[in-house]
Symmetry: C2
Subunit: 527 residues, 2 copies
């Protein structure tokens, strides 16, 4: 079922002789299948095919792209339980999560299908000519978004479906009209191949050009580096660590022709606990956060790794309750021994920091690759003076910072690195007493949450997933929701172009019936 | 009138003792006024003030920003003829051009005022909660564009008003809610100070926070480098050379926190002459292009530096006519001796390339700093094999490439670097015989023109000014038109946020009456 080969366009290919295996963290054994590393010539072939496919694929209609995207969703569904089994055996994630993530993946593909079929996303704008204008005649100008070129997608370790092979980045790029080359995540390369086979089947069924999609395997960094530096690659999407994302960003920035890299990276997702809220419901908040911290073994980019409050009886109650609740939760399996190992190392490093106190940690013996959750606490001063404490410990780890006063709370927030999210836990009107806290938090995050938890990323148009660096490399874009298509397009203007040669989106007769800005007025009317 | 001082927020300041002078290229003498270099501490003060001003300025309403922007325009107008005189004495550009460029500058400021007053630019999006959704409740999410932070603007040498102190970049950034620090162009620092005084007056009259605008003088590169590396600076706008833009881009990419740099750089703006058009009207095309090549001494980023055709009698006629016409045009003064000198050097370097033939050049003696125009020609093969010929010679220089056939024409276009514009000169239906030429050209440019000239950039919503690298550092944005505001903003989401604390753009009652995407439907209705 799993060949372990790469997809170079529509062809399975394995010309190199280096292979690797994926790992089942639940069983603590390697999976059976061998995955073949992509060779340099396969990388080049994939890039050449993508550049060639771009010539036609970038021009096909939104309706045709929608058919393709929906067919990808159908083909992934058709993989049935086999996909879910491989998913779990390569990630240790339970069947319920697998089903949920598959549903999200299909939903994203179909949402992008609807988005490009509806067609307004191209932001068509038309300014008609004024040949008699004085002192100079005005030309006819028409603008719309067009595809950037071949896009390389690096899948995420923690979302083998929704942020990997046919996940959000791929769906957005294909919707935009960009061929995609996936650098498959080595931890779930088998899952990746299965999904890639679905994409290829869909491409063939719907008549897409060969090269619109390729899937390359690699357990090292060279294939990714070569792709990011390849002159035919025009943009990069990445989900993963700060170190990995920054390395790719740096490579792309050093190219003769720099290209955009949208990397969604680390975040500790600060949660601010206001005093009245703590006074009134410390216990309930602690219970909610014990759940949020340990959800999915803490392996979410929106995991709340930092909780900040002002010293009070309420905060003490919260801390005590959190300590009690956190150890009641059964540990769960992490994605891979390497991730479990990194969690151990990073946790140990954090715990070794001077002034850090462990509130509670799960101590019973656990299965291999299972993560023992821990919550810790530290004084505001200590936190401010130790940058190590500002860094993410990927896993079920959280740090409660106890501030001396409101001023220190503000200072701490303003010194945080960029984050995906920030949360404020407040009593009904309490938050209005903290305008500076809210402002400071807003400056550091992409999404701000009132009385909730940061985990759980709704896929909808109003979701912003991406924040100031290092949450992402370019806070001007989102990685989730249909607006993520904007990462892979550029505006393009036609001046005095013959009507019959314009794309349908810009023709006088508006054959697609889309909403356009015509002489600065939004309308679906003809010209 | 001109103090030569820097504006550090609302205060004139000159703490350093190094000064420089601007130059009148028409008279070939230095201008009277001394300009004082900004000191390191002034740079830091400007950044500190901008970061402080950002806290309030980023939150004020679109209507208030509109008042500020319109007042800037009024104050620039109030400078009257004095401004135009200094403009001409620092650029050598004639009064008519000065008036035109001032009109454009005022028009841009007022267009952005209208844009933010209307308010739809924030792209408000609301997805309301579904507390009863199964299996998980849906949260309330609301998204809009917010300002990035303090922006540094590097003015252009060739547009002392429209792309400098209060030019397009500054107007867009102020409209977005970003304080602006201008690194004034040293060639027209007096003009810059006058415009800066107008901005400061407007800021004070309309009650803007101190630091919303600063203007720093420097004849070297250190001030600019310090600004781009300053932690409080969050984005950069630049118009100028590839070398300068790339250097700033590289600095910004190497920061601990990389920031976006939108640099609008060089372009040779290829013009493709199709055979039938040449057969029927070689003479008229030559005449038009002789004008376009020499317009403003060729000192436009849209100057047509490369003309490409297929060998034919028509092309020979065009070349002969262009040679005749180009020398009939009176040379004009360049902006500065350094620019005139660079033109001489680059022209000489180009002319020294093997296989390059001079078709015609103005040879009569000219005033100092005046540019002698030249048109040259080369075989397709020679052009393909010599990268030097692909580089811009900033000034009234153009190269006609004579291709062997259609295939070579396509190859040449596909090998070009990224460009702001590409033009196709075609007979009525001729262009439809060249789909590959059109596609190849589209991939290399940001704006494509049918039967026109690239010079003349209309300021309107449908204008795209920015193309694949090195035309600009990020082709996903434009430097001209109201959409250029998108460079300085990021999307931001509020989750379950109390209605009364939301910005007006996202409140249930839609107090601004803007168009919003509510549960995926565009509407101005309340919720």
């Amino acid at each position: 079922m799993i060949t372990g080969k790469n997809y170079i366009g529509n062809q399975l290919s394995a010309t190199a002789n280096r292979t690797f295996k994926t790992f089942n963290p639940l069983l603590n054994i390697e999976n059976d299948w061998n995955i073949t590393e992509a060779s340099n010539s396969e990388v080049n072939q994939a890039a050449d095919l993508a550049a060639e496919a771009f010539k036609t694929y970038s021009k096909i209609s939104g309706a045709t792209k929608a058919t393709f995207l929906r067919e990808i969703a159908n083909e992934i569904e058709a993989l049935g339980d086999d996909l879910l089994e491989v998913y779990s055996s390569e990630s240790g994630l339970p069947n319920g999560r697998a089903m949920g993530e598959r549903g999200r993946t299909l939903g994203q593909l179909r949402a992008f299908a609807n988005h490009v079929e509806e067609g307004n996303w191209v932001e068509a704008s038309i300014d008609t000519a004024e040949p008699d204008r004085e002192p100079l005649p005005k030309v006819d100008l028409r603008k719309m978004n067009i595809a950037l070129g071949p896009v390389v997608v690096f899948g995420a370790s923690n979302f083998p479906l929704a942020f990997s092979t046919a996940g959000g980045d791929t769906a957005a790029a294909l919707a935009a009209g960009c061929p995609v080359i996936v650098k498959s995540h080595p931890m779930h390369a088998g899952t990746g191949e299965m999904v890639a086979s679905a994409v290829i089947k869909a491409a063939e069924k719907t008549g897409m050009p060969n090269g619109v999609f390729s899937n390359l395997n690699s357990s090292g960094i060279e294939v990714g580096q070569t792709l990011v530096q390849h002159p035919k690659v025009k943009a990069v999407g990445f989900t993963g660590s700060i170190k990995g994302g920054r390395a790719l960003y740096d490579l792309a920035a050093k190219r003769d022709e720099p290209i955009p890299v949208f990397a969604e990276m680390g975040s500790i997702n600060p949660v601010v606990l206001l005093p009245k809220a703590l006074h009134n419901r410390a216990e309930a908040i602690a219970k909610t956060y014990a759940g949020s911290i340990t959800l999915g073994s803490g392996q979410f980019c929106t995991n709340p790794g930092l909780i900040i409050g002002i010293k009070s009886q309420g905060l003490t109650n919260f801390v005590n309750n959190l300590a009690e609740d956190i150890v009641k939760i059964e540990p769960s399996c992490m994605l891979h021994p390497n991730i479990a190992g990194a969690y151990q190392t990073n946790k140990k490093n954090a715990l070794a920091q001077s002034g850090l106190q462990v509130l509670a940690g799960y101590e019973d013996s656990v299965e291999p690759n299972y993560a023992r959750q821990v919550v810790t606490t530290v004084e505001g001063d200590t936190f401010l003076n130790n940058p190590t404490l500002h860094h993410e410990v990927f896993g079920p780890f959280s740090l409660v910072v106890q501030c001396e006063n409101k001023a220190q709370l503000e200072t701490i927030i303003s010194k945080l690195e960029g984050q995906l999210t920030g949360t404020i836990i407040s009593d009904d009107n309490e938050i209005s007493e903290y305008p500076n806290v809210v402002n400071a938090l807003q400056n550091r995050v992409g999404r701000i949450i009132f009385n909730g938890v940061p985990t759980g990323v709704e896929v909808c148009p109003s979701m912003q997933h991406g924040g100031p660096y290092p949450a992402s490399t370019d806070s001007r874009f989102t990685a989730v929701g249909v607006d993520s298509i904007k990462r892979w397009v550029r505006p393009f203007s036609y001046q005095d172009w013959p009507n019959e040669l314009l794309p349908d989106e810009l023709k006088n007769e508006n054959p697609l019936g889309i909403s356009r800005l015509v002489n600065s007025v939004k309308t679906t009317a003809n010209i």
